[in-house]
């Protein structure tokens, strides 16, 4: 049992480290292309900082609550665990909705990914993060379903600790999207 858990953790950690290489390439591409706006508006005209701050705080809260869920399941508190995990999912959905709203608004105003190299890089970077969030949300819902289906504490604990690391990782990636894309883009 312990060996299986260790293997899964090693494999998943390897995945996360390579995934951060993917994100780094997208970050580097964005930083190089950020001024290639093809005569169109740049970040300072397109981004709303207060909107992004709310998005950031929602994702941070989601990551925090996910940590609380991790603590709860490690202490055998199933009810608290389901409550925290539910909150994690709800906040994740709120975050994703805000991100899609921003995308929809940009595209509707004619600032879609095909408008300039800057916007292509922006949509690729932020969209890849959003895709990860979507996958994480589906994963979390499957975990809740699995909890009611089999309910073996040990299995859930093993599966959930991987999800928690994934979710925290996505929030760490977002720190840099917030800083490099939005904060430094608006300035």
């Amino acid at each position: 049992m312990v060996a299986k858990r260790d293997k899964a953790q090693l494999g998943f950690w390897l995945y996360l480290m390579t995934d951060s290489m993917l994100f780094t390439s997208l970050f580097a591409t964005y930083m190089i292309l950020r001024n290639s706006t093809n005569g169109g508006p740049g970040g300072s005209e397109l981004f709303s900082m207060s909107f992004v701050l709310v998005e950031t705080l929602i994702l941070l809260t989601s990551s925090y609550v996910c940590g609380l869920a991790n603590l709860a399941i490690h202490n055998g508190r199933k009810k608290e665990f389901v409550m925290y995990l539910g909150a994690t999912i709800a906040l994740g959905i709120a975050f994703l909705t805000m991100e899609l709203t921003e995308f929809g608004k940009l595209i509707a105003e004619g600032h879609g990914p095909q408008a300039s190299a800057f916007l292509s890089a922006f949509f690729t970077l932020v969209g890849t993060h959003g895709l990860h969030i979507t996958v994480g949300l589906i994963w979390a819902m499957v975990l809740i379903w699995a909890l009611y289906r089999q309910g073996r504490q040990e299995d859930i604990l093993r599966k959930f600790s991987l999800f928690a690391v994934f979710w925290h990782f996505l929030d760490i990636v977002w720190i840099f999207i917030f800083t490099i894309v939005y904060v430094m883009g608006v300035k």
Partner: protein, 121 residues
């Protein structure tokens, strides 16, 4: 009783990290909206805040310093960050000095790039 107290203590650790990370985000936001710093100074401060937040979240959320977490996690994490920093900083540095590296003025680089892209792939 002992177990409950330990549980609460761990919860407090999470709350501490949460408040710190949130405060940093809000501070950076306030700076972005209304800042008296020059562009370079601003970038340095903001990137430092991001690094600080990375440290807080890695320590309190990912528990990389925890005794129960195997050592290879921290080592591979640090090594990955080291590699990624070289890729990111290196790419930006090279691309922003393209004219110097090619022995051309910025206008000449643009002209050259345009003529190349007109040729197609």
């Amino acid at each position: 009783m002992q177990k409950t107290r330990e549980y609460r203590r761990q919860q407090l650790r999470y709350a501490y990290a949460y408040v710190m990370a949130g405060a940093l985000s809000i501070a950076v936001y306030a700076l972005a909206v209304d800042s008296a710093f020059t562009d370079t100074m601003f970038a340095v401060i903001v990137l430092f805040a991001a690094a600080l937040q990375l440290y807080i979240q890695s320590r309190y959320f990912l528990h990389l310093d925890d005794k129960e977490v195997p050592r290879w996690r921290l080592l591979s994490y640090l090594f990955t960050w080291f590699t990624l920093l070289i890729i990111a900083v290196g790419s930006v540095w090279i691309m922003n000095h393209l004219n110097y590296n090619m022995g051309m003025s910025p206008e000449q680089v643009d002209q050259y790039m345009n003529s190349q892209s007109l040729k197609g792939f």
